[in-house]
Symmetry: C2
Subunit: 521 residues, 2 copies
């Protein structure tokens, strides 16, 4: 491979999905993984198979159905973890097992409650065991940047001796500065000459706002894989953001000299999809994918930009796929136009799925003059969520006023096909309808988070609601899309409730292995 080609390792579905309140089902993870393949990432870390049966199923489905990228599964340095990961990625075209153990004394002492000698033994056994299943084995010394570099070097030599092909250096707590991170990598190359035979990788967290800069410093020190996530999601302040790293290397290619395999025009759409399915908003001033990232997108066609775009813009919005919004359908558009529009967006929809999509499109076109590409994306992704839904919102009536308390009545179709009615007088219309849904389903779900955003601008915008709720100790998220925000909220609540209910059943049916989900790089 070209020595200046940087491997993009996407961990949206693993480190990103570990963020509080995110709970993607298999269909949603598959949809994101397919989009990541279209985006052209080199490696998809699809999950942490031993963490739960849901994680395992999703990794296996992605390994079987998503073609192109390497599919990686995460595993602690335990035999059971590695076997579970191996089973999950087995059917991938190019499977990878990514195993890790901490090398910092603070982690060894307080989290692992172990010793340096044991860590060396575990690392050796883990890489050897992983290697018995797959050729492509990645090893991470967790919390490396707070570890003694000499001890970390010893552990890396062991991992390389056992056949690790990629060595990843996590700044697990987001503590490093670019100079320190580069110096740490440079020192490792000195201490472990065999590192030159493997791919060195960065994994930087953004706690001090330096994740992208640290990743760049790592690349310049010799790393040729960058671990990152769409929209920079992940533990705490998240990972290095994929779109920032890629557009940095792309925009400054003439000076930096590095390339990636990413199709930058897919960036905006991938960002929107991940934001929509995770319920995590992107702030307007977020680099590359924020609403204001491009001056001409934010409606300011000021003199400077009009005279000469480069006066204020170093990237072109079309490069990251922010055009395409000119695709517009109206109420007179037919089934064929819808099918081509969806195909252009990368959704291959046919048969009954096309009928459903067309029906929802027509309903929307009746309420909204122009249906844009972003509206279609929202609708199609919204449809995805229906496949596993157990409760359905049949109808609702809400009376809202500031002169009396709001009252809601709802009808819910239960998984058994029965119709259940509920009503409630609440503090606000959303409160009232949520509690009416609780009454109808006889569930005591507690709302944890609630958010509404407009998908597109203007008076007839689509509203998108996100709900996180808790039911019997399980937390789950749901989203809904409608021109009516009360309806969007109710849909989101019903879906979150369905997701939570499935989790409650799953937890009752099996003993979920007790994994510290956040105990990962």
């Amino acid at each position: 491979m070209d020595p200046d080609r940087v491997v993009i390792f996407d961990t949206t579905l693993r480190d990103g999905e570990q963020s509080p309140g995110i709970s993607l089902n298999t269909a949603e993870k598959l949809e994101i993984a397919h989009q990541l393949a279209r985006l052209g990432v080199d490696v998809i870390e699809a999950g942490f198979p031993i963490a739960s049966n849901g994680d395992f199923e999703a990794v296996r489905a992605i390994a079987r159905e998503v073609h192109g990228p390497v599919i990686a599964g995460l595993a602690r340095a335990h035999a059971a973890d590695i076997e579970r990961a191996a089973e999950a990625v087995r059917d991938a075209e190019r499977p990878r097992i990514h195993t890790f153990i901490s090398t910092s004394d603070i982690h060894i002492e307080h989290q692992l409650q172990s010793t340096r000698e044991d860590v060396k033994g575990s690392a050796r056994a883990a890489v050897a065991h992983a290697k018995s299943f797959v050729d492509d084995v990645e090893f991470s010394p967790m919390d490396a940047t707070r570890a003694e570099v000499e001890f970390t070097a010893e552990v890396l030599q062991i991992a390389l001796d056992e056949g690790a092909t990629t060595i990843n250096i996590p700044d697990t707590v987001g503590y490093s500065t670019p100079d320190e991170y580069a110096a740490f990598l440079t020192r490792l190359y000195q201490l472990v000459p065999d590192l030159r035979g493997a791919v060195l990788s960065t994994h930087c967290h953004d706690d001090l706002g330096l994740a992208v800069a640290n990743s760049l410093a790592g690349i310049r020190a010799g790393a040729r894989q960058v671990e990152c996530a769409i929209n920079g999601i992940g533990e705490r302040a998240g990972n290095a953001s994929l779109e920032e790293i890629v557009m940095l290397l792309h925009t400054r290619a003439a000076d930096l000299g590095f390339t990636t395999g990413v199709q930058t025009r897919e960036i905006a759409r991938t960002s929107r999809m991940v934001s929509r399915l995770t319920g995590y908003p992107v702030q307007p001033n977020k680099a590359v994918v924020g609403r204001n990232a491009f001056a001409h997108e934010s409606g300011i066609h000021q003199d400077g930009v009009l005279k000469h775009r480069q006066t204020y813009e170093i990237m072109d919005a079309t490069t990251v796929g922010l055009e395409g919004n000119d695709l517009v359908l109206g109420k007179h558009s037919g089934r064929h136009a819808l099918k081509s529009a969806l195909a252009e967006l990368g959704f291959d929809v046919d048969g009954p799925a096309l009928n459903t999509a067309f029906k929802r499109f027509k309903e929307l076109a009746d309420r909204k003059k122009q249906v844009t590409a972003m509206d279609l994306e929202a609708l199609v992704t919204d449809e995805l969520r229906d496949q596993l839904r157990s409760y359905t919102l049949e109808w609702f009536d809400v009376d809202v006023s500031n002169r009396r308390p709001p009252h809601a009545r709802v009808s819910i179709r239960t998984p058994d096909g029965d119709e259940a009615l509920g009503d409630f007088t609440g503090d606000g219309p959303v409160d009232a309808i949520f509690r009416a849904i609780n009454a109808a389903t006889k569930r005591e779900a507690r709302l944890r988070e609630f958010r509404i955003d407009a998908v597109t601008g203007g008076q007839d915008a689509l509203g998108e609601a996100s709900v996180v709720l808790e039911l019997a100790g399980q937390s789950a998220a749901g989203q809904g899309v409608s021109t009516d925000i009360i309806e969007a909220a109710a849909q989101a609540y019903v879906r979150a409730l369905s997701n939570a209910e499935r989790k409650v059943h799953a937890a009752a049916a099996e003993h979920e292995p007790e994994v510290e989900l956040t105990g990962a790089p």
Copy 2:
């Protein structure tokens, strides 16, 4: 001053306020400026006085009322700009004029349509003119990082000769990498030895995700002022985020060796206030101030954190003021408890203002079991917005259902004191009530953006709505807070309409000077 003390220059109210859709009135800007003073920033760039009468008034009010920080006003290198800035900051304890002109050929040719010789002449005249009004003059060569360093050095020598005391090096388009930015500053020190007699400053934009890293690189190269904004707001992808820079210097003080005067415990509150008043959300995975930035705040009390907090946390949430949420009032709390709670939050409320606050507190306590510090903050900031309001929402009734189109009726008190009724059948309840408000006020406002967030979690959360609308070519924002999201939305719309109406009147009454607002560092 301590040679390792870094001056924190906050540009939230200037570069931040130039972001699309943000439109703060004088009362809101004052509130933010008072909070910035409590936060302990060294310099507040309060606005761009020639940009509009509103900007001028706000800078003057801040100069008169906010004590502690230096108050700066921005001015292009034109006599009229500088005179207007001088007038606006005149009454400050320590006034500063910040003047700028581009030194990059791309800006000189395409934006200024001028020559290098003219730029030198303008810079000389501007600094000399500013110096005739104030001692403290800052000069910025705009787009410096894309300019020839030798020419930039010539212009800086001129600015220093005329008495500039701070020299700021803007990475206006967010193009630099840390190595390049440090090298540029180092080269300037070589070319302009007199720079050592001034304070060198950084001003980095985040287009490639490197604003914080570039600022740090600048400090290490000798800069002792950092220009930054709360939540990293600003043009396009925004400025270096104040909280990230400050917490980076604070958390890594032992290794980096720099200090600031910031009271870090005020960071969380400042961030919330700016987010609320600008209507710009902070994404959950934003460093330092995002909802998930601290593991223990996000509800994950996983083993590692419990065993030993430092296993996964490099900062303590209390350091940035994320505790304090334990302050809780209930429906039986009295006027005195409210007054002390507000005082603890830094709001000095007495007399009729306390009566109003108590009335709203009681209304809220009736609908919500526990009123937290964050709820109180939202209420008090909400009250602030009433001072200049011209329309008032008297009452509304909305009928929402998915079985028939939603219908809204509203009563609006006009600025003349009349009651105006309106009703509308819309696509959704928010659409219906917005159009009913248009009907009542006989205004053809167009909705541009709409957003709802929960201020606090839980089923009885306060909802906060943000609206951006356009009326007769003027765009304006409004916010509303209520446990009822329809009410919050209607309040936000009525306030945005009032703000837009004032702008329309102001534009008609006077010739606003034509300033390219975004033509600034």
